[in-house]
Every structure is written in C-alpha cells, then in structure tokens.
Symmetry: C2
Subunit: 378 residues, 2 copies
C-alpha cells in the first residue's frame, strides 16, 4: 500500500510551489466570520462539550435531512449518519462491504480506491466518458458486483457530469439487479448552471448518498454524511462508533449553528459558484494561451479541469515540474493499475490568477523540453 | 457484532435516569471559557480552515512531544500521530495488526475488544489483579502473541493501578520477546496522589503509547494521539489518512492554542484531580452506607469504582434498574465471552451527590428484591 500521491505532494511541496494538485477549496471564500459566530455559540451550553451520539448530533442530521426533503427526496434524521468528512463515509462503507465485489468508474477518486483496497474489496472498472460511465461496460460488471461507486456530478478527477439518460438507466439497472450504488457527491453544490439531480433520489432504498461540507464551508471541519435507508445506517453506525465513537462535535455544532440561518448558506453557495466559475473560465483561457497542446473539456462545475497532454508520460513530467516548483496530478494515479498515461488533473479553484499563468508557462516549457528529448531518443 | 452496551445505554436512557454507566467526565469541570478563547483564536488565520496534515498539525504534535520530554521520555513531533480520540488510535492500530494475535487484560475496555474483533485479531486474555495483570498468565500468552494491550493506570473498567514491579517485568518481557505493547493511558492525568510512570518510557521503540484530551479537556474535541517510533507512525499514518484524511483541525487548533499557556493546563488538571478525588470519596462513603453488600477496592485515580455484588447476575439486575431509572455497567460486558458475572463498574465522576445517593438506594432495593426472589426459587 502506497500513501496517496496527492496527500504526499500536499505535505512535501514548499509554500513557494504553485500547486494545481490538491482538491483544495479557496481560503478566500471560506465564510470565516459566520463560521466563527456559529462556533462561538456552542459554548453557551457546556453539555455541547460532552460525548455525543455515535450517528451525529440530532439537529445537524435533521438539517441535512431537510435539504433532501426540499428537493423531494424524502429523508428523516434517522437516514443520516454524520462522518468525519466524506472520506470516512467511504471507509465505513468499505468496511461494511469488506471483501465484496464493486465496480467503479475509471479514472476514479484515489482516496476511494485506496479505501476499497484496504478493505480487500475486489474492484472492477468501467470507462468514464464525458456524459458518464460507459453503460455497456458498466452493466456487464454491475450485474456481477451488485455494488457500484459513482461520482456523477463534476467527477474527481474527470470533472464529467452524467447525462439524465445515464442516470435513469443506472437507477433502473440498480433495481433490476437488487443492487446498491454508492453515490459520492462532494461537488454537487459547485454547479455553474443547474443543480444535478441525484441518482439516489430515484432509488432511495438502494443507494448510499454521500455529502460533505468540506468543499462548501471548510475542510477543517471534517463534516460529511451518508444518506441511506435506516437499516444500512444502523449497520454503518456500529462500524463508525468502533472507529472513533463519534465525529468531532465542536465541528458538528458549528455547522448546525451556521445552517440555522439557511438563507445565509444559500447566499454563500451562490457567491462561491460564481467565484469558482470565474476561476474556471480564467484557467481555461490560460490553458489555451500557455499550454496549447492540452486537450480538455470545459467542466460544468466542481474543482477540476481534466485532459490530455499528448506524447508524454505525465507522471515523469510532474517529477520535473516539482523541481521547478509547479505541481499537478498525473492521471495515472486515478487508474487502478497506474498504467502509463498522458492525462492530467488540474485544480482550478485554489491558485491565484498570477500563479495560474506562471505555473502553466513553466509546465509548457518543461513539456517542450521533454518532447525534444524524446525526439532525440527515437 | 453487537453495538457497545455503554453507547447504546447512553443513547437510550432519558435525562431523568441516573447514570453511573458512561465514562463521562463532569461538564462542570470543562474549562469552557479557556477552550472558547483558544477556539476563537484559530479564526485569525483562514489557512487554519484548510485541509491539514494527515498526521496532525505540527504545533500540537510538538506540544504533546514536549509533555513526554518533560518526563524524560525522549519524543519528537514525528513520534506523534493525532487521532480522532483514543478510540481511533485503537482502530488504526488494530487495522495495522489485522488478524494478528494479541493478549489483553480481563476485564478490559469494551471499545478496544470490539475494535480488535472487527479487525479479526485473535484475542487471548490474562486475568487482571489490583496491582496489574497476572504476570505468569500474561507471560504465557505474550510469548506467543508478541503484542499486548494494557491499561496500566486506573484501568477501565477495574480502576486498578500497576505496581512498579509489574511495570518493569512487562518492559523486560517485551524486549526479551522482541514484542510490542499498546499502552492505553486516557486516565493517567487523573491520579489522586502521584503520576504513574508509563511502561512505554522504559521501552520507547517497542511501545505504542495512547493519550487523549477527552477526559481532561472535553470529549467533544475528539483529540487523542499515539506515541510510537517513527517507522510505526508512518505505517499508521497511511491507515489514518485512508480512514478520514485527518482529524478535525478546528479541534486540533483549539487544543494547541489552549496548551500555549501550559501553566493554565497544569492548574486545570490540579483542580480536576481534586474535584474527582472528592467525588470518589463521596461515592465510596455512599456505597458503604447505601449498598453495603458491594465489595470493592478504592481507586487511586481515574473515573471508576469496580467491585462485586455477590449472588446476582448484574446484567439481569441492570435491566430492572433501567426500569427504575438508574443505570450502571454490568461487568460481563468487559469479559470476552460475556459470561455471567456478579461484578459492576460505577462511574463516579459524572453524577451529583444527590443522584449518587438516590441511585445507590434504588439499586440496593432492587438488589434486595432480586435476592429474595432467588431464595424463593432455590
């Protein structure tokens, strides 16, 4: 088992390095003042500092359930398990389905792959296209595994968005096979045009829907959740309490107090989407200007621009880039067998405009040198 | 796998029930004002709200290392892994030693037993006496398992304290067998007379020493840690980041800011010890007066009074007590095979003096009825 390339990179690069690597939200857009007020408030009652319920504090589970209900996806507080970020949601689920078969998109989120492997799950893959997973390949695997892990909204790493047609097909397939899907949705709120409708809402009893406040409020809180049927939530709660009794309740009360004014949260999300859309547009323009060989599709939301830099192993390229103080994630990391790969994931939410330009110019220059070298060898 | 009896009880009893069950610190002794100030301070830098290092924030790891150094137990920040409470420390370790043999004290902490079982560890036991584990039985098992889980200071549930002689014997045995001990020390700071010296300090490379702020500052923070050699910490960090990327950094910064004034922390601990000693003395007196059949040894620290109520299955007794709105933990829960058992664990830190008296009088009356019934049947 290797450590996550991204976590290692995040911890090893110095602060002078321009990083397009991590899935970092932009610190300038954290609602610092409002979070601070919400946090402060919990100290009014010293009972809030006591041990809390394993499945999460009641108020917060109720508020999250309400978000689902607002969209017509009927949900009670007892359908919600609070986790230490989405990552723990994945771990708890992987532990529950330990040694079982699962089909995932390829490429997919590295943290999920590692978690599934660590719990001896047997992973099949289905190719991910720009409108969602390749349905024929997916069906072939899913009929056997009866369990799938999907990121339909602004996928990590690919940024892709499932078409409505594919969503409906997968929902149908799930019921036909008496199967389950794990729908990971940390980026859903970061849409640029229209909020996508979850697959889970079409199959409430056959889905585990994962959400998180890491990308919308702050990752430091480590507050995520699972929405599933009550029976599954009970099973997962047993695992969750064996792992850490319960998630930090300082953070849970902070989020809950923050959400008490729901119009504030909605305004914040609206501003965040606008800011990230602007950042995406700038990154796209900069790519076209400074790294013209990079082929990509403009994302409709989320945090990533994904594409192809022809005729280069991007894993080798990034090693050189790190020396020159710029870093991205070579996409081989998102493939199960880490095969040689010419794809790249860029994060567009974190860096300043100046850094985007400097960073891309550097990458282009190193890429040029690489190509020349290769030509010499051939 | 059953849910933890204690967690279930904590969540199911209503607020009118007098509970001697949970290992709850007393809310009146949380340093609310100082924690609030420490918490507030983190909002001065919005970077504190970003993703943090997997192994924990540097400042806090440094401060914890310093505590060890003050006692002559040489430790660097790189020897520390921050976890979501001690419970996660146990889980991460159990995952690392998955399917391996381990010897534990009997009785022992239920959360540890569940975690070891969940990770398919093969558990042997050695009887725990009032001065520590039975050395002959321990040696017999330890020579085979090469891994032990011990709570030498004010054990949960037994409240027992290891003698210096037993500590030294176990340290020697560990080195002779090229083995490891997991030393769980959440109660160490709650001593009434003298701080016990850890076994780990005698065998720094062959020990995993676990600490927590749950019993000293607040359990809501979910901040615990593991102190071990760097190689082990690296292995455990890989597991930790697969579970939840990192522990809540709001809580980590809060603790770190709080500890910046170390004299404040020391004064707080001193006051806490005095308050808990007073509560223990009161509980002891009340037991002698209201539940005279209960045989026990006065603890030297920690949170529990443990003993025997002859001729009754305390698991059956507690079912009746719950109906009468008083609850404790029947000790069968702390045994591997949950055998019928006449022992009880009382928590003495949480209830008010009034509740202690009312609760014990109720238990005595139900116990009396039980004994009479039994006499009728025989």
């Amino acid at each position: 088992m290797k450590r996550s390339f991204i976590r290692e990179i995040l911890e090893s690069v110095d602060c002078e390095t321009i990083s397009f690597a991590g899935g970092l939200p932009n610190e300038n857009h954290f609602p610092v003042k409002d979070l601070k007020d919400a946090n402060l408030k919990l100290y009014e009652n010293s009972k809030n500092l006591q041990y809390a319920q394993s499945n999460g504090i009641e108020e917060l589970r109720q508020q999250i359930a309400e978000f689902y209900n607002e969209e017509g996806f009927e949900t009670n507080a007892s359908n919600i398990l609070i986790t230490t970020g989405s990552q723990q949601a994945l771990y708890v689920i992987a532990k529950n389905y330990q040694s079982k078969d699962i089909v995932i998109e390829e490429p997919s989120y590295l943290g999920a792959i590692n978690t599934f492997k660590m719990n001896s799950m047997i992973i099949s893959t289905a190719e991910l296209n720009n409108d969602g997973v390749n349905i024929d390949k997916f069906r072939f695997a899913f009929e056997k595994t009866k369990l799938a892990y999907l990121i339909p909204d602004f996928q990590n790493p690919k940024g892709s968005l499932y078409s409505q047609e594919k969503r409906e097909k997968i929902a149908r397939m799930t019921l036909e096979n008496n199967a389950y899907i794990i729908e990971d949705a940390p980026y859903t709120q970061l849409y640029f045009e229209k909020k996508p409708k979850s697959i889970s809402s079409m199959i409430p009893n056959n889905s585990l829907h994962l959400g998180s406040f890491s990308k919308t409020l702050s990752p430091s809180l480590r507050v995520g959740w699972i929405r599933a049927n009550e029976e599954i939530i009970k099973e997962l709660t047993m695992i969750k309490e064996t792992i850490d009794l319960h998630s930090c309740s300082i953070a849970q009360y902070t989020v809950s107090n923050y959400l008490n004014d729901s119009s504030k949260y909605k305004k914040h999300l609206q501003k965040l989407r606008e800011a990230y859309k602007t950042k995406m547009e700038f990154f796209v323009k900069a790519l076209k200007k400074h790294l013209p060989s990079f082929e990509f599709t403009k994302p409709m939301g989320g945090m990533f621009i994904y594409g192809r830099l022809k005729d280069v192993d991007t894993y080798e390229l990034v090693q050189e880039c790190i020396k020159e103080k710029v870093v991205f994630v070579p996409a081989s990391q998102f493939y199960l067998d880490k095969k040689i790969c010419d794809e790249i994931r860029f994060n567009f939410t974190h860096s300043s405009q100046e850094d985007v330009e400097i960073g891309l110019i550097k990458i282009n220059s190193i890429y040029g040198a690489f190509k020349n070298e290769e030509n010499l060898i051939t």
